[in-house]
């Protein structure tokens, strides 16, 4: 039995139906556990005070936002190469979640920036490329909404996603070149101690795992509803003839 069997919409509906409850429960548990650990059982930072706790929402949402785009890229390529409808719809389903996470990341970042840097916003490379990511999500979603025929829309958005990825990477380098900023460097790199202390680090890992689970659950859910919509459309088309 090959993995591609689940590219059949009906099989996918069945499988996702059983998986979603598990993922949602797991996600809820991990997020609640991670957040309470982070909120109530870690000390306030000596410098940042209690505001450091925004970290537990900010970093996971930013992480998911970036990786959601990757997922969409992979799904788009699969659609273009193998023409599995589920793949195209999964890409479509991930976009609103991705953009929501981007907005959460931006808002929590801004809320954090106010006490930390004394400003809501700074044109720092990381922030800027994050904002640019928001624009790419926006274009992608708008294109889906504007094209009526679902297969055409899937094709067009897939090409846009691939081309967009190239230009998103270029933009990232461009912003670095444009302004060397004051944002935190990656906290999950090898020399992590330098940035985020262990006490904050472990609960953060838990919350991030929770966000990833949540993302998977939401994508499955959204893909399901997209499939149902296509189904309803197909049934309508049949009855209309």
């Amino acid at each position: 039995m090959s993995f591609w069997e689940y590219a059949n919409p009906l099989k996918f509906l069945k499988l996702s139906g059983t998986l979603i409850p598990y993922f949602s429960i797991l996600a809820t548990i991990t997020i609640i556990a991670g957040l309470s650990w982070g909120f109530f059982f870690t000390p306030d930072d000596y410098k940042q005070g209690a505001t450091v706790k925004i970290l537990y929402v900010h970093v996971p949402s930013a992480f998911v936002a970036i990786n959601a785009w990757f997922m969409m890229l992979v799904a788009s390529i699969i659609w273009l190469v193998r023409r599995h409808h589920v793949s195209a719809l999964a890409a479509k389903a991930a976009a609103p979640i991705g953009i929501a996470m981007t907005i959460i990341g931006l808002v929590t970042g801004a809320l954090w920036g106010q006490p930390m840097w004394g400003t809501w916003w700074e044109w720092d490379p990381k922030l800027t490329s994050f904002l640019i990511l928001f624009l790419f999500y926006l274009g992608y979603i708008v294109l889906w909404a504007a094209v009526e025929d679902p297969d055409t829309a899937a094709d067009l958005t897939s090409v846009l996603c691939i081309v967009g990825s190239v230009f998103a990477v270029l933009s990232r380098y461009a912003t670095v070149f444009w302004n060397q900023g004051l944002h935190q460097d990656a906290s999950l790199s090898i020399d992590k101690e330098e940035h985020v202390a262990d006490v904050f680090y472990y609960p953060l890992i838990v919350v991030m795992a929770g966000f990833v689970l949540l993302f998977i659950a939401l994508v499955l859910l959204n893909t399901r509803s997209e499939i149902m919509k296509r189904r309803a459309g197909a049934i309508m088309a049949r009855s209309r003839v």
């Binding site: 916003w121 700074e122 044109w123 904002l131 926006l138 708008v142």
Partner: protein, 218 residues
Amino acid sequence: MIALIFRDLRIAVRAGGGFGLSLAFFFIIVIFFPFAIGPDLHLLSKVAPGTLWVGALLACLLSLERIFALDFEDGTLDLMVTSPLPLEGVVISKAIVHWLTTGLPLVFLTPFLGVLLGLQNSNVIFLIISLIFGTPALSIIGTFGAALTAGMKRGGLLLSILVLPLYIPTLIFGAEAARRGIQGFETQTSILLLSGVTLLSWAILPFAAASVLRINLR
């Protein structure tokens, strides 16, 4: 007229209708300025009111082309002229729909963009006020421009060139009002002048636009 307004609103929110797009365009074009000017927040906040006003103006401009051109191409305009609806009513309905779908939403986005450009929260209010009083003028002037170019295929660029000069008074008074407010001067005069421009435009341009439309249909 009500029927026309509802139909146009309905078309606007349908797929491909373009609702929300001018909002997105406003957002994007405003955050393009930092890329062009450089990341210095202090400098940015100085040019912020002007940037936001130019952005709003461009967002209005880009959505003008749809106003009449589609109706012209598919023959609706011919039929509308021969219908009981007065052409002035058509123009006013179109301008109202344009403002509802473009001008008004822009106002709500302004606070967020203000933050990105380093404006103080308390100062954003001046921008909002100036936009509320100014954008209706942008809509009716733009409708007049759209009527002028209704007969042309893809006349978007020509339309821009015709309309932009007409936008100058609105832009000057509007941006001035916002800038004065932010710098702590009194803003009443500029707001008054701005409203004057708006009222004048709504008083005379519907007739001008209707006559121009009639000419374009021959």
